[in-house]
């Protein structure tokens, strides 16, 4: 018998140099791989935010008030980041999803009613997304009875037949399509410096002498308040928090990788708001300037752009809308089915076979079929559907935020990673402000519905 170690030792002598080079290269490669393994949830979740309802609200606010709404973007970025960061931290340090934690800490009954609310609210959101699909395809004169079912099938197939890794790559690629709004904005030829100036609160900077002539100060009236509430309501949605935390847990992000995830959430929150900035600037420089203060829907906003900023700006605006709607329509039903099944103890996940996770697949399919079907049958009430989905979102959001705040301050779950006092102040004040805004939106939406 031969000594194996000797044989290997001969080889090892030669390969030592090679090994050293490779060992040196390993940390860099690993760090890059690690970044890509972790980047994603935050970026995806904030971008899905700019969905059909969002784009409509941004286009409308730009058309109605021009640059004067831009100052809200910075505080909104802060609130979006704060609320999402808490969820990613909860996920990374407790290792559990938001719905699991609510179930474990607040019991079955609370969880059941919360999940019932999530189901209703998210069905409304899914309907709003399919509404976005037909708005966008109307711009290209494609029949909605073709485009909406096609989009529904596409979404269903993508998620059920694709592997998780590929689906996420496709989602990340889709995030790039949002860039179409940047191009649209450039084609609209706005006065960039003035637009950037309006990112600062206008009531404050108008006191700076040299700047004063360029600053437009908003009039605080009822319709301005409604638009503000609408902006916040479409930007921060309850389902995002469930999705983000589930994704953090699913990606096995722990305390050590948490710093990467926090950056991911930060980059996501900022990039989401950058896109919002371009959408508002685009409609402010065209529709608002030309006196078109009211757009019926996001599709008509795209059509109205055509004579003002050219065919390309209009087409890119519509493509952005279509992309956003399909993107959100593929994520929402999935995350809803997942969250509900996790909380109530049904088998879930796209890696399960149909027979193993019947309720999960049934919920997922029903959300898509119902969402697309209702939109087709009640197409002329699209505006009402959208308003309702925003109102319901608004009611659910403070509830979810309060749960998050209670959980994230629990030392037995989070150890020393509970919120700092300052962070808590900002978070509770934002929650309180959102409750107030919710009532503003609810009041005005209901007012609009019944008159």
């Amino acid at each position: 018998m031969l000594n194996r170690t000797n044989i290997a030792a001969q080889w090892a002598g030669w390969s030592e140099r090679v090994g050293r080079v490779r060992a040196a290269a390993r940390p860099i490669r690993r760090r890059i791989a690690l970044f890509f393994a972790i980047v994603g949830p935050g970026l995806i979740v904030s971008n899905v935010d700019n969905d059909a309802g969002g784009i409509y609200t941004y286009a409308q606010s730009g058309a109605q008030f021009g640059n004067t709404v831009l100052w809200t973007l910075i505080p909104m970025t802060v609130v979006l980041y704060i609320s999402l960061e808490m969820c990613s931290r909860l996920g990374a340090f407790s290792g559990k999803g938001l719905s699991d934690l609510i179930r474990e800490e607040f019991g079955f009954r609370v969880t059941f009613f919360l999940m019932a609310a999530v189901l209703v609210v998210n069905l409304g959101n899914v309907m709003a997304e399919f509404t976005g699909v037909f708005w966008a395809t109307d711009v290209f004169r494609i029949n909605r009875y073709i485009s909406v079912p096609l989009a529904a099938v596409l979404v269903w197939v993508l998620v059920v037949l694709g592997t998780a890794k590929w689906v996420e790559r496709i989602f990340l690629a889709i995030c790039l399509v949002y860039f179409s709004y940047v191009i649209s904005a450039f084609l609209a030829k706005p006065e960039w410096l003035i637009a950037l100036l309006h990112l600062l609160p206008p009531h404050l900077i108008r006191f700076v002498p040299n700047i004063r002539p360029f600053v437009q100060v908003p009039l605080f009236n009822a319709s301005y308040a409604v638009i503000l509430a609408g902006l916040v309501g479409t930007t921060i949605a309850p389902w995002q928090h469930f999705y983000l935390q589930a994704a953090v847990v699913e990606k096995r992000i722990g305390p050590r990788q948490y710093a990467h995830t926090r950056n991911d959430v930060l980059v996501g929150s900022i990039s989401c708001m950058v896109i919002v900035f371009f959408i508002i600037v685009c409609t402010a420089a065209t529709l608002y300037v030309k006196g078109i203060h009211y757009v019926d829907n996001a599709g008509t906003a795209a059509i109205a752009l055509k004579p003002l900023a050219g065919v390309w700006a209009s087409a890119l605006f519509a493509i952005g809308l279509l992309n956003a709607s399909i993107f959100a329509a593929s994520i929402l039903p999935l995350s809803t089915a997942y969250v509900i099944c996790e909380a109530l103890g049904f088998e879930s996940g796209i890696d399960r076979k149909f027979g193993e996770a019947k309720i999960f697949y049934a919920l997922y399919t029903a959300l898509i079929v119902l969402g697309a079907g209702l939109v087709l049958f009640f197409g002329r009430y699209a505006k009402i559907i959208l308003l309702w989905s925003q109102v319901l979102n608004g009611f659910l959001l403070p509830v979810v935020l309060i749960f998050i705040l209670i959980l994230v301050n629990r030392r037995d779950l989070m150890g020393d990673k509970i919120n700092s006092r300052g962070f808590n102040w900002v978070a509770w004040i934002s929650t309180a402000a959102m409750i107030v805004l919710t009532f503003v939106v609810a009041y005005t939406s209901l007012h609009e519905l019944f008159h």
Binding site: L2, R4, I7, A8, Q10, W11, R252
Partner: protein, 412 residues
């Protein structure tokens, strides 16, 4: 008579004279005394301090009503006790491992059975309800009369797990000892099933389970787990325990694991391991994980080509071999160079005096350690291999790639 934990929560309690004492807010099991007996009831009395009723002080239990066989004065004040398992806090809504169904489930409710003792009534925990009936009870209890709930649930499909097959998950090691929670039942599961279960748990729960498993099982489970999880688990283990687990793993699996750890951690663990094993793993660590050298295992069976079947079998019996490495036997000539490989199936059917050289597979296929993954896959596919020998520049065998390593890489 069957009872459910939900029906007992909030039950009004009366003492021997029929005086109202308080409501049941929680009940406990004392695993050190009896693994399934409800041992204590916590009775809340509004502003007053809560009382504790022992199992032998209870004379009857029905849905929503508990009667004691002593007077209120005989009851003790409640003191928190770590060795008691609280049904509401530790069980309801929490995750448990169903060791028979081999999955992680969430508890909806508990089924209790009444057992009459001398002058008292004991409740025994029989099943954990993870299905719809439990969910319906949790939802409707206290809102709809018990009778209606019972009628409704009888129409629903029942899915429960017998208490013997329940494995609790307790991250705190001290409490686990006090509650007598062991993971013996988990050790009987197939490592791949156990790995699937672990992936559904949170990090601290995973950590606690690995730490309490025996080293052999822990090694088998780590080999099956997602690489991102294994590195984190090993980093957080006590180094001595981690080294012991690594020792139990096949050298290639151990090398894969160590390659993902930081330089210092992996050195520390290698130093803890016995010299021979550490040496083997160190050699493997030198190879690129994506090349043949990174896939191979240095533990393989090789014999001289002139030995007979009988001699080889005789020798094999004496070795402490892992079956995973016994797909084929590598042959070497008098210069210690590779001369072929004999699949074990051929060896099985050969005559006792047959020389191994006559049994070897044609054509001879080998690869150098720097060959990439794809070449390995292609050879396995083309020649339907179960094992492929890796040779150095002098054509000497230095390792072998088994078919299971190829399959697990293809699945990724």
């Amino acid at each position: 008579m069957e009872l459910y934990a939900t029906e007992l929560m909030g039950a009004k309690t009366y003492d021997a004279k029929g005086n109202y004492v308080g409501r049941v807010r929680e009940f406990f099991i004392e695993p050190a005394q009896a693994p399934n007996r409800v041992s204590h009831f916590l009775l809340s009395r509004g502003h007053f301090q809560p009382l504790i009723a022992r199992h032998d002080q209870v004379s009857s239990v029905t849905a929503g009503r508990v009667e004691l066989n002593v007077s209120e004065r005989a009851l003790e004040l409640y003191q928190p006790n770590e060795s008691l398992l609280a049904v509401q806090k530790d069980l309801l809504d929490q995750q448990i491992i169903d060791t028979r169904g081999r999955k992680v489930v969430r508890v909806n409710d508990l089924d209790l059975a009444e057992q009459r003792m001398n002058g008292s009534v004991e409740l025994r925990l029989t099943q954990v309800d993870v299905g719809l009936p439990g969910a319906v009870r949790r939802l409707l209890q206290g809102v709809v009369p018990s009778k209606v709930v019972r009628k409704l649930q009888s129409k629903l499909p029942h899915s429960g797990i017998r208490w013997e097959f329940v494995n609790l998950i307790e991250p705190d090691p001290l409490r686990r000892v006090k509650l007598r929670i062991t993971h013996e039942k988990l050790e009987d599961l197939h490592p791949a099933d156990l790995a699937d279960i672990m992936e559904e748990l949170s990090a601290s729960e995973r950590q606690s389970i690995i730490a309490s498993l025996d080293e052999e099982t822990a090694a088998a489970v780590l080999a099956e787990l997602d690489a991102r999880l294994t590195t984190r688990i090993v980093e957080n283990l006590d180094p001595e325990k981690a080294a012991n687990i690594l020792e139990e793993m096949a050298p290639d699996a151990a090398a894969d694991l160590l390659a993902d750890l930081s330089k210092e951690t992996s050195e520390e663990l290698l130093d803890e391991m016995p010299g021979h094993e550490a040496e083997e793993v160190r050699e493997l660590l030198e190879f690129d994980p994506a090349a043949a050298g990174g896939m191979m295992n240095t533990e393989f069976v090789f014999v001289g080509e002139n030995s007979t079947r009988e001699e080889v079998l005789e020798w094999l019996r004496k070795q402490d071999l892992n079956f995973d490495q016994l797909d084929a036997i590598v042959l070497i000539d008098s210069d210690a160079q590779y001369s072929g490989a004999v699949p074990v199936a051929r060896l099985l059917l050969a005559a006792p005096e047959e020389r191994l050289a006559a049994l070897k597979m044609e054509p001879l296929v080998t690869l150098p350690p720097e060959a990439n993954e794809k070449e390995v896959f292609e050879l396995f596919d083309k020649y339907n291999l179960r094992m492929l020998t890796v040779v150095d520049r002098d054509n000497r065998p230095i390792g072998a790639i088994a078919v299971d390593d190829v399959v697990s890489r293809l699945v990724k």
